[in-house]
Subunit: 160 residues, 2 copies
Amino acid sequence: MLAFQAVSVRPPRVRCMTVPAAISLVTLGVRDVRASTRFYQSLGFELSPGSVEGDVSFFRTAGGRLGLYGQDDLAADAQAQPRTADGFRGVTLSINVDSPAAVDAALAAAGAAGAAIPKPALATEWGGYSGYFADADGHLWEVAHNPFWPLGADGLPQLP
Amino acid sequence: MLAFQAVSVRPPRVRCMTVPAAISLVTLGVRDVRASTRFYQSLGFELSPGSVEGDVSFFRTAGGRLGLYGQDDLAADAQAQPRTADGFRGVTLSINVDSPAAVDAALAAAGAAGAAIPKPALATEWGGYSGYFADADGHLWEVAHNPFWPLGADGLPQLP
């Protein structure tokens, strides 16, 4: 009986259909690939030689790769309707750093590179410290220190 | 003279202001955090116990972490105007896999989980194979095989 139970509580060995959990690349649609490329380079991001000047740019990051592509080209690639309005896009990207001072330093660097700072850094209700900068197309980047998410050897936050 | 030249061509040792190149977290604004969380779980993404049910969800991925948060809450967090229109958001996320067959399998899994497939997989002009699925809020995920970007041990594409 115990043996039977031990077998019966095992989940069936079905090969489930899954989608690999990865964010390999985030591509931002931009009005001017050259100008946006210069902006991200001026932040200190390293441009990959695999980029095609003025057409598409790729940057290595501690997470997935960052791509810059013409926003109409990107919409066409996804067979999506072109953008029709400004306002929030429903997507934010975050750069997690290891101290509040590093948040301040990164936002200052972004501002010095010409980014807008729609939300200066402040202590958050969840116990961290963060602010936002925006690139020329309004893509929002949070720079955050989260004391509950220590950064691992890969530079990425370690979730509980 | 040679010694002088060897010194003079060195770039000055200035500590430049930089922003760490990282995509630590991508947060998607969604209408229904619970429903969207179930959707990403049904793709096979692993929900972090650090999530707060119905409020915010976090998933580990091979790249930065994926967050799901109410779209109005996310707009407020970024001090951005709420979304006013549908249409393309100017942002796509990509999941890179190691073969065309893996693209087909992932898109089939996404479709089986209820995702829309705005662009079925096809051979691309850049020599790869890719298609797109969309979640309930229209966030676009490309699933791609890029033979020129082999996947590294970290599961992420290795750029040239």
